[in-house]
């Protein structure tokens, strides 16, 4: 791969666009720049097919005979691909492809091979609007949606044209709600990986502030977060990395300079649901749940699994829908299970024991013991340990693991209506896994 970052890149983000099905047949193409020859495209697709069929899934293929490469993303049963000059801004191309998928998914509910045949006219229309000559123009499905649909039937749409070119391209004029409300969900997802020695090799906390706005007119919203969160997010540059939030990304509607200077999040929200900001933090010192799982082979034909679950969060909080998947030996049979709380189901088709606990309080401990029988071969075997870890999923409502809190959310509109803000917190697991201890 050529240099992608240090060198400045100025070539267009994409040259042509293609949709292929799972057997690498072209379903639809749109060539914006007329640079790619048929032979070159054929070579690229051949190479891509060869790679994928041989288990190589690198998302960029290069054509040795020209300075062209193909970047692709798989989505459901189709491949979405762009060709571009080698050395272009690959990040922009991939982001663009993902945005296109978002746009198409928003249009067709389910973006699959079937929907391309059903909607090829609208796809061509959209492709005409999202890119000109290889430069992305507008990839916001909310605005595009209004834009293409209305234009397809009527001529007069002056205010939408202006929306496509101005700074607030995400919101159209003249929205009206009888009851003005705004819902803010603070969702944190934590992921953790603990290896066989009890070491946390990966521990990460990401958060999303998802906003659902039902507001009239062109409102300005001011959102203030508690000191701890803002300090770390880099308002005062000296404090970077010392606080809880390590990196914050804002929706394009947020005034970044205002955040930098005053620590206040000011924005004019798009209509409907969107992610206002996402952030990443260093994990809180302790994980929310801890699993100590071990396995022993006793005798020649039984294997025992012991799993201890301890909840480490505050006692007044509650974790719900705790689900623990314990991988067991593939050839094991007839489990004997004992557990102190919750229910256990053995799913031989996936080789797992699933332990579910509806609600558990903080600072508690639970234990599961399972004995499974193995086909006896008469010799003591040394079993190669499984590479699949014990996986856990859970939710802890009404709290954030990072300690982030909303101080206030204010809506300011010329009309002067009062809007009701609702705020809700939840912390969930995302990829929480523990290896069996050695």
């Amino acid at each position: 791969m050529e240099r992608t970052c240090v060198k400045g890149t100025t070539s267009p983000v994409c040259s042509s666009f293609h949709i292929l099905n799972s057997s690498y047949q072209l379903l639809l193409s749109r060539d914006w720049r007329g640079e790619i020859t048929c032979a070159c495209l054929r070579r690229l697709i051949q190479r891509l097919a060869y790679n994928l069929d041989n288990g190589v899934s690198v998302p960029i293929v290069f054509d040795p005979q020209s300075h062209v490469c193909m970047l692709f993303v798989t989505h459901n049963d189709i491949l979405i691909a762009c060709t571009a000059e080698t050395g272009t801004d690959y990040m922009a191309t991939f982001i663009f492809l993902h945005k296109l998928i978002d746009v198409f998914s928003a249009y067709f509910d389910c973006f699959i091979e079937e929907s391309i045949r059903d909607n090829f006219v609208i796809i061509y229309e959209l492709l005409d609007e999202v890119v000109d000559n290889g430069y992305p123009q507008l990839t916001d499905s909310a605005v595009l949606g209004e834009f293409i649909k209305v234009l397809a039937h009527r001529f007069e749409t002056p205010h939408l044209l202006s929306a496509a070119t101005t700074a607030t391209s995400w919101r159209k004029h003249g929205i009206f709600y009888k009851k003005n409300e705004v819902f803010l969900d603070v969702i944190e997802s934590c992921s953790l990986f603990v290896d066989a020695h009890g070491r946390e090799t990966r521990s990460l906390l990401t958060g999303t502030l998802t906003l659902r706005s039902q507001l009239s007119g062109m409102p300005k919203c001011h959102l203030s977060l508690n000191e701890r969160a803002i300090r770390a997010a880099g308002v005062h540059s000296a404090a970077i990395g010392t606080g809880t939030l390590e990196d914050v990304n804002f929706h394009p509607s947020v005034d970044l300079s205002a955040f930098r200077s005053r620590g206040l999040i000011c924005f004019t929200p798009p209509d409907g649901t969107f992610d206002l900001l996402t952030y990443r933090t260093l994990h809180p010192a302790k994980p929310l749940l801890d699993i100590h799982a071990s396995t022993t082979t006793t005798g020649l034909s039984t294997v025992e699994y012991t799993v201890n679950l301890s909840t480490l969060f505050k006692e007044q909080n509650m974790a719900s829908n705790v689900r623990i998947e314990i991988p067991v030996a593939a050839d094991a049979t007839s489990p004997e299970i004992q557990c102190s709380h919750g229910s256990v189901v053995y799913q031989p088709e996936d080789d797992v024991l699933t332990w579910t606990l509806k609600n558990v309080k903080g600072k508690r401990e639970f234990k599961l013991q399972a004995k499974l029988h193995l086909p006896s071969t008469g010799v003591k075997q040394t079993r190669r340990k499984t590479s699949v870890p014990v996986r856990v999923s859970f939710e802890v409502p009404y709290t954030t693991a990072s300690g982030l809190q909303v101080k206030y959310l204010k809506v300011i509109e010329k009309e002067g209506y009062t809007a009701l803000p609702w705020v809700r917190y939840i912390t969930r697991s995302d990829d929480y896994a523990f290896r069996f201890r050695e």
Partner: protein, 543 residues
């Protein structure tokens, strides 16, 4: 939503003739259906070029959806019908003066895509008007159209003064127009961004950065990244203005911003600024796999310039078990580069974990990485060797073989330090089938001939099957046997050397092997001391 798939279904013979008939209809619904069928046929790759004239004749329509479809058809087939394409010009020119700005923009955009020399001349006048259009949507389309025109006929762009107009537009009041003009200028100047912005218009370009759409920001940031600042204070100003973009939700904007910072750091060095780019880069490693891949490649690039900035965040490069292979491999490459004395212990534990992965190629690479750590952090070479011994102890065949290759380099790098490892190594050997591993073991045998009890037996077995080995192994075996003889001379060793020299000089057809054998033969027949000096001389350390 109406289903378009029905347009694909007709496969009757003579459909082209039927469509030609249908295109003459005055029934608007039938006309639209027919054009959709034609576009559907075009989409699946059927040749509908013969209908060109008939389709072009329908171009003058009030129905915008139909117009778009016909324009699309025209773009696809105009090149193969340049003479008829001229007929479409009238409609284009008329549309470019339509009261609806959307139609004006559509006409200009489409004309630019028809890359036919004869049409280009007619494009100039509408384009000239569009560049001054009161509606920004038309102006932003026209700006890009200048770049299209330039790729077909660059002289026209200069003659008609479009370049100058584009420069005016690059300070337009509308940010999208600014972004597109800059994109077009960059393309026309063939990437020489330095000629587009000068110190005077710099402030205007920076100002438009804040109000622009995300894709416009990417274009402007990329252009600013290539801008050559006149002095340090200007570089500082550019960086300061771009800095808030590190927090943008679109990673393309973030990376473009990082690119800008790095380019201008050449002028205005600042470690504090450099640190700012680390958290956003690490955040990208939680995005979709493709994004991660590009982010990792970029991190590698950045590390070539600033080797140590990612050392603290080494945990971000630990592989998840469900990462796709191409992400894992990149992470592994970077992990080796971020090792230092502070983190090597953690990284080694992780690498050992990978050595047991189901993906054999990946686990071999992990073992090779352990070797790389041993070479790059000398203080921890013992830990690395211990890790390798644990892997060897598993007796998993490919892992043992890979460990041999790695140990050979460690032996070479730290001569005389880890000889005790050789014995357990030989004990774990069950079956060697990888040529690299074989060569490495044979190398070790020759190098440590005096200290391994079973050297003679092992060499004997290799020599017995030498004709089946690849040349690389044969060459190594020849050298090691001679070394062994020189280090521990005995009657059996002598017989062995004679046997292999005979094979190499008479049976082998490989010139390198024969030449090397002759050299050894002559050295040995002349004087064994001189031979020993030459053959067992120390070789340089691996780098």
């Amino acid at each position: 939503m109406p289903r378009d798939s029905k347009y694909f279904s007709s496969s009757k013979k003579g459909e082209v003739a039927e469509w030609r008939q249908d295109l003459k209809t005055s029934d608007k619904v039938l006309l639209k259906t027919t054009v959709k069928r034609i576009i559907a046929a075009m989409t699946v790759g059927k040749d509908v070029c013969p209908l060109f004239l008939d389709v072009i004749n329908c171009m003058q329509t009030e129905d915008i959806e139909l117009k778009k479809l016909i324009y699309l058809y025209a773009i696809n087939y105009a090149r193969s019908n340049p003479d008829i394409a001229i007929l479409a010009v009238n409609t284009f020119v008329k549309d470019s003066q339509d009261p609806n700005p959307f139609i004006r923009a559509l006409a200009v955009r489409t004309m630019g895509c028809i890359r036919v020399d004869k049409i280009v001349e007619y494009l100039c006048d509408p384009l000239n008007l569009a560049l001054r259009d009161p509606d920004p949507y038309v102006r932003k389309t026209a700006a890009i159209c200048v770049a299209k025109l330039h790729s077909i006929n660059s002289e026209l762009v200069v003659d008609r003064g479009f370049l100058q107009q584009l420069k005016y537009l690059s300070v337009d009041e509308n940010p999208m127009v600014v972004a597109n003009s800059i994109s077009a200028l960059v393309e026309i100047q063939n990437g020489e961004s330095s000629e587009i912005i000068d110190s005077q218009c710099l402030s205007a370009v920076i100002a438009s950065l804040d109000v622009c759409t995300e894709w416009g920001q990417v274009a402007i940031l990329n252009c600013l990244a290539a801008y050559k600042c006149v002095d340090g204070s200007e570089a500082k100003k550019v960086i300061e203005c771009a800095l808030p973009k590190l927090q943008h939700a679109n990673y393309a904007v973030v990376l473009a911003c990082i690119r800008l910072i790095i380019n201008h750091l050449q002028v205005e060095r600042s470690d504090e600024l450099l640190k700012r780019i680390v958290p956003p880069m690490v955040t990208m490693l939680n995005a979709e796999a493709e994004i991660q891949y590009v982010a990792l490649s970029s991190i590698e690039d950045i590390m070539n310039q600033f080797p140590s900035i990612f050392h603290e965040t080494y945990k971000a490069f630990f592989c998840k078990y469900d990462d796709p292979a191409y992400v894992k491999y990149k992470k592994l490459d970077i992990l080796v580069k971020v090792t230092n004395e502070g983190n090597v212990a953690d990284i080694l534990v992780e690498l050992r974990e990978y050595s047991g992965e189901v993906d054999i190629e990946f686990s071999r690479k992990a073992i090779r990485s352990i070797g790389a750590c041993a070479l790059s952090v000398p203080a921890f070479s013992q830990t690395c060797v211990d890790a390798l011994l644990i892997i060897i102890d598993t007796r998993v065949n490919y892992a043992v073989q890979e460990s041999i290759v790695v140990l050979k380099d460690i032996f070479r790098c730290y001569p005389g330090k880890y000889e005790s490892v050789v014995t357990p190594l030989c004990r774990s050997l069950e079956c060697l089938d990888d040529p690299d591993a074989k060569s490495s073991l044979i190398y070790i045998l020759g190098e440590y001939a005096g200290r391994i009890d079973s050297t003679l037996d092992l060499l004997q077995t290799f020599v017995d099957t030498i004709q089946d080995e690849p040349t690389s192994v044969q060459l190594q075996l020849l050298t090691s046997t001679v070394k062994f003889f020189l280090k521990c001379p005995s009657q059996q060793a002598k017989t062995l050397v004679q046997k292999i020299l005979k094979f190499a000089t008479t049976d082998s057809e490989h010139p390198d092997l024969r030449d090397r054998a002759y050299v050894y033969w002559r050295l040995l027949s002349h004087d064994t001391d001189t031979a020993a000096n030459v053959v067992t001389a120390n070789i340089p350390l691996p780098s």
